[in-house]
Amino acid sequence: MNKLNNGEFSFSHETINKDFELLTRALDASISGIVITDHNLPDNPIIYCNAAFEQISGYDRKEIIGRNCRFLQQNDRNQPERQIVREAIINGLDCVVEIRNYRKDGTLFWNELYMSAIKDAFGNTTHFIGVQNDISRRKKAELALLQHQELMERRIEERTRIIKESEEYLASIVSTVRESLIVLDKSHSVLSVNDHFLKTFKVSLNETEGKVLYELGNGQWNIERLRQMLENVLPTNNPVEDFEVEHDFPHIGRKLMLVNAHRIELEGDYKDRILIAIEDITDRREIERRKDDFLSIASHELKTPLTTVKGYVQMMNRYMPENASDKFKSIVDKTSIYVERLNNLLSELLDVSRIQTGNIELHKELFDFDRVVKETVEGIQTATKTHQITVIGKATNSYSGDESHIVQVISNLLANAIKYAPDSPEIVVYLSLVSNYLKVSVTDYGMGISQEDQKKIFDRFFRVGEIQQRFPGMGIGLYVCDQIIKNHGGSLWVESEKGKGSTFSFTLPLDETEVPE
């Protein structure tokens, strides 16, 4: 009985009642519920409970004493913890469990049960002492934490799934693209390439990824121009677009490539990665070249017989007998007009084809602009008896441009002025210098152009509906003029009022730096 002697208690006849009362008070002062069950009585009934146990369970002492502890689980019988308790009782062992118990009012509380077996001198279990703590709050927090964790995990799974899906989606786009794509890190090693790259350049993924671009395929990508672009151009001009690279690859031959490069500038994992898109334009260029060749040949072959026809018609005029009938003269005149029309149509068609291909070449040289305008006007004046063309003003005697193209524009504007002002013979060409531009205006007093049509007349193949009936043509002339003026860095526009006439004007920059390359 050392434990008892350790304190104030002597349990002598004189003090025993007082000592017991003190200990019972101590048990009642505990915030843990305490019960004692008697193992020797049937069904191990509770023979003692303290005040805290009443408090925790909501039962009165009189409702507790005599019952087995399992009454606290009410109908919640399938808890694995009950088995642990049962085994401890059978074997006379201590145990600790967290078990769901229910108060008298039916509400749940989590009970942390410390159960210890009390044995007699022979080692037989006589009693059990149960110390109980209501850990509902802790349990609730733990449960909430667990639920939160599960929720987070579910969310992460969902996010991962979405990211994976979107990665697969992007990857499928990238692999469908009919351009070669390469991703480089900042030291120009290949991080990834798409299928099209592998197919076009006949390489495998293994011999590509992780390698420095310039070392790929025994150095076949060590292309000086590409290297220069990546090392010198891209750092200051991001992104680089439509950079043309031509290279002779050992296995696949000569390739003409149009390269776009973009360095990622956003802070983060991808910073300084370089995306390269390569379009193989070898075939396209070849087709363009063949088209140009075809046009050259077509032009040549069609114009050669036309030259002969035109020449003979002119000679027919020369040899016209004095007494030739008016009818005959008119036939020769008309033949001459239609041969000229055929020639113009042919020239227009070839011009458009050349512009379409983007190959309208400027052959620039200095020429006396004013003189060329005057000569062009004279040329047209001699051919027209119906109209009087007047040139007013001066622009410049030294302009650098493609003389034949400028002549084409002026001729076209004059031809239009004559054509669309059949009843108003006066045409004025006005030359001037405006700031550092030269300006040419051609004014007629003919039928004019409606506001609506003014927007469209520079479009290819556009013809004003009612005009088509009276004045045949292809709707190419102004389109070509517009392109030519644009190629010289200038602009062409129209001011017109229906029924009163039109003024077509163009300006050309005298300052070379404003002319496109």
């Binding site: 032009s299 114009k303 050669t304 036309l306 030259t307 020449g311 000679m315 070449e361």
Partner: protein
């Protein structure tokens, strides 16, 4: 004595037309379809002017022109290029042509230009 003009074009129609036109204007005309014979004819006939097409089989007009301009014996012979090719003028100028007319040309303008050329020749010769 009338001026002699050598015309070389592989197209027979053009040759006929120019022969008729220039003879009509009082010139002696030698018409030749093959560019390979041009040099030989110049050597034997000493024309005053050569009218030359560009696109011709075997030996092109600009090749002929370069040969003539690189040869001291023929470099002073004035050459007028006539061509239906889109790049004709550039090719002609680069090869050293003295004049150029695009096909289809105006016959009256061509005659005028030829006359101007040959009168200039005459003036220079008389100086």
């Amino acid at each position: 004595m009338s001026k002699k003009i050598l015309i070389c074009d592989d197209d027979e129609g053009i040759l006929d037309l120019l022969t008729m036109l220039l003879e009509d204007n009082g010139f002696d005309v030698i018409a030749e379809q093959s560019s390979l014979n041009v040099y030989k004819i110049i050597e034997s006939e000493h024309p005053d002017l050569l009218i030359l097409d560009l696109w011709m089989p075997v030996l092109s007009g600009d090749q002929v022109l370069r040969m003539l301009k690189n040869n001291p014996a023929t470099q002073t012979l004035p050459v007028m290029i006539i061509s239906a090719s889109m790049e004709g003028k550039q090719i002609a100028v680069l090869a050293g042509a003295d004049d150029f007319m695009a096909k289809p040309f105006d016959v009256n303008t061509l005659v005028e230009r030829v006359k101007k050329f040959l009168s200039k020749e005459e003036m220079e010769a008389s100086l």
